[in-house]
Symmetry: C2
Subunit: 532 residues, 2 copies
């Protein structure tokens, strides 16, 4: 194989660089040697300052980047050597930073762009980024209390802080006999809850009846639930996605859930787990927690609430009603990395009975993991609360975010996005060519272009909107949005939540949508007139 | 509830601070407001520099910290308010950094201490920390190619770079038809492989036979396997931990594995999955891959190799023989965050047939996740390779580590620790009061104090060594080690792998062990003379 040629990467090779992150080019550090040189305090300081400047410059020039790069599959792989370097080139760190600027950033989708409206936000903040940096610097592995006492206790403190800020019932918090932990993602949270529920149920009905267990959700529930169910060994046919309707704003109906559970019981199956959602992925629908818990209780079903996106909005008392009845849920999770400034990844999971979680996920007799501190003392060993044993010190960044912005600061942040979303929604409503497809509940607007009557049919309308989205996203310095398809209806999703987004970005985004729609309708008129 | 009083935390309150991280105390930033102020480039730059200095100072003063803090459960929770602040105090960021210095760091177990010899290392490097910081700053969510093309492609490139550097067979790499991904931990890697194996097997034998599946490992295999098996719905009684023996250096015997599998087949059960280990947690035993694969092949069993710790050593050609026969394995994982400078967390998982992984873990029909780029093009959507959908941009730090240190630099790093471990092992052997319990294979030394004949009995010897470890770990400015118990024998574990560890720390650690042993033996002599 040919030797790698890292020093000769062609930075101009087909990648359009329209950002403006400067990189110190003349710094040539001496080659690192073994041992402490790999973590030399003074070199760390120097390169750490370079990275702080690099990120600050990236934020300052964020508006200049295309939100989604115009690259094709393989663009980066083709430019990089096939093997790692044997010895670092001179000034490797500075060269690598240049490559991040010239090769990596122009090929990224910029989630921090103020014009990123796709999927859900991944909100960044100074405290969030620097909390991650601090945790990486400390680089502890808080898998047991003894393995990092302060990290474990800070996690216990911040999950209670966060739970109170979100108006969760105390029964889910340490201060009320429950407790929480910080995981990576909602997928993990749902999986942990589901495995705890499964172990409890199998203990009741017999360990060999896993094939009889049934999991419930709505047809709007995130794929994370099906993925978790599949991983947990629930049969693929035993996941009921109860149908929802536009008239109910796509919420899960307690009556339909009841009917589904009863049908399974009548068939000799065993209802196990319900995943209710506050803020579904496609349209941010809110399932009625209290009523669903009442149905679930009849069958001893574990209720998990997935508030991955909308959980952040619960800092605002005006949204408190969506967790009415949550005293009865068994577990609750939300992603503080989505809309609460805590940077990817940071998923909080709370459970009403931590002992059920640790019974399912805890070690049985690992000798070396035992510690005097854990024997007979009131300590939490978080390794028994999750899929993983090794874990990161995520509590530090969440604590920094809560300390530096305060609960009122987080409310300001959420409300600003909700105001912007309301303003975008109004612009849609004010234009008769468009319709808002699902009522806005938080900061996501689901809308579409009405298909002119003569091009009638749902399929044509969907195709029209698909083309509209493509054209909007292809507009240079335009917004980046995504789509949903609910009840056969294709719609555009404008999810407002990037930290850097301001009112003007909303107005500009809407202007692009209008312009592209006008051009598209014009083209269709021409085609129509030719054909008819 | 009383309002929180963040500005009045008593920093001197019972926490012993023996580090020397200075914090700028006079900087009072203006209170953050909503919107772009939360990610203001100039504020980020200023606070980013503070954090770079904070971490650099922490490394510079690392030697001053007690490796394991002398704190009791609740020490930190008692000092923090019960609720998050409503509004941030003035200068909240600087105040928080002071609290990290005065409250958090003194309560941490310092994994980066040159005297941290417990568990396995969590090696940090400048490139690793700053790679994490950069990824946190960019804060992308590379769940599909389109969601961050450069992040996905860099991950594909670095897993091939790493696999080649570790002398893995090409069949596991993208360049050979396989492929890899970066997950958080080995627990996730094993779980993903196990679910892929389970789905393949159930497709053959019928989806309702999950209760018949059996998983194999040795009695030395990490609990991660049992945890993964339990999560995946394998019955608790269906995990065979084949017994190992000191004469075989605690390696899994192919003959015993064969017997176990045959017995299960005879009982109508279905062998599913073997987890072989390169470098077990307790004594770094190495299972014979080629021979085990031959046994597994007879029953269509998926073979996963867990090289969480010792995988890093494979950068050195002198260890290449431990992966002899790995062409036949189905999957392989190792933690680059353990001993390869890539900071927590960074677990690489390679599979021979990625389609089996994506068939088990992939989305079925999520509309909004589909993207033109993924239709008909040769792209990888990493959301289908793992437990989670949301993921971090881990490739950046691993790429920085490989770029900045080079494969030869990583070899120097590994060999330095192996030399230090050999030197520690020699010191143990040179002292007739001690014995090396399991032959050293990498950089872990398992040793114990021989119990003088008159205090005979295994139980007394174990108790003696348990007390020895307690006293060693309680020595101020002493080393921090952990223990193992294998075949009824309790031993001390000295795992050398902290980036900052130098020869002198090894000599000092051994001196502490000798001193504590001498004192302990003296006390026992006195007690004995009183009793007899």
């Amino acid at each position: 194989m040919a030797p790698p040629s890292h020093a000769h990467i062609n930075n101009g090779n087909g990648v359009h660089h329209n950002g403006a992150v400067p990189v110190e080019t003349e710094t040539v550090e001496p080659p690192p040697t073994q041992g402490s040189r790999l973590l030399d305090a003074e070199e760390f300081r120097r390169q750490g300052h370079q990275v702080a400047d690099f990120i600050a410059d990236y934020y300052a020039s964020m508006g200049d980047y295309l939100v989604r790069p115009s690259v094709t599959p393989g663009f980066l792989r083709r430019q990089l050597p096939a093997e790692a370097p044997s010895r670092p080139e001179p000034g490797a760190f500075a060269a690598a930073l240049r490559d991040v600027r010239d090769l990596v950033l122009p090929g990224m989708t910029h989630w921090q762009s103020p014009r990123h409206f796709a999927h859900f936000p991944a909100s960044s903040s100074t405290a969030g980024v620097l909390g991650e940096a601090l945790a990486a610097g400390i680089n502890a592995v808080p898998f047991t209390w003894a393995a990092s006492p302060a990290a474990t206790e800070l996690e216990m403190v911040v999950v209670d802080w966060l739970g109170k800020a979100l108006h969760l019932p105390e029964s889910l918090l340490f201060c009320g006999g429950g407790g929480g932990t910080l995981l990576g993602t909602s997928c993990e949270a749902i999986l942990c809850a589901l495995v705890a529920a499964r172990e409890r149920k199998l203990a009741e009905i017999g360990g060999r009846r896993i094939g009889d267990l049934v999991v419930y959700c709505s047809d709007q529930t995130h794929f994370a639930l099906r993925k978790a169910a599949r991983i947990a060994g629930i049969h693929r046919d035993s996941c009921r996605g109860v149908a929802t309707y536009r008239d109910d704003m796509f919420a899960l109906s307690p009556a339909e859930l009841h009917a589904a559970m009863q049908a399974d019981v009548d068939a000799g199956l065993v209802p196990l787990f319900l995943c209710a959602t506050i803020g579904t992925t496609q349209t941010t629908a809110v399932d009625p927690i209290r009523e669903l818990c009442a149905v679930a209780a009849k069958h001893g079903v574990w209720v998990h609430v997935d508030a991955a996106y909308a959980g952040s909005a619960l800092v605002c008392p005006e949204f408190r009603h969506v967790v009415d009845g949550a005293e009865a849920v068994d577990s609750f999770s939300m992603n503080a990395h989505k809309w609460l400034l805590a940077n990817n990844d940071c998923c909080a999971l709370w459970v009403r009975k931590p002992s059920l979680l640790t019974a399912a996920l805890g070690t049985e007799q690992e000798y070396i993991l035992k510690d005097a501190a854990a024997e007979g003392h009131d300590v939490v060993d978080y390794k028994d609360w999750s899929v993983t044993l090794t874990r990161r010190f995520r509590a530090l960044k969440l604590w920094l975010v809560l300390r530096c912005y305060g609960v009122e600061g987080l409310r300001d942040h959420i409300r600003a996005h909700i105001r912007m979303a309301a303003s975008f929604e109004n612009m849609v409503r004010d234009d008769a060519r468009f319709e808002v497809v699902a009522p806005r509940q938080f900061a996501l607007v689901c809308f579409r272009l009405r298909s002119p009557e003569k091009f009638c049919g749902e399929k044509a309308a969907n195709e029209l909107n698909r083309r509209l989205l493509e054209e909007v996203n292809a507009t240079s310095s335009g917004p980046y949005m995504s789509s949903a398809k609910v009840g056969g209806v294709y719609m555009l999703r404008c999810a407002i939540g990037s930290t850097l987004t301001e009112e003007r970005h909303i107005r500009e985004a809407w202007k692009v949508v209008q312009d592209r729609a006008a051009s598209l309708l014009r083209k269709m008129e021409i085609m129509y007139s030719v054909l008819v």
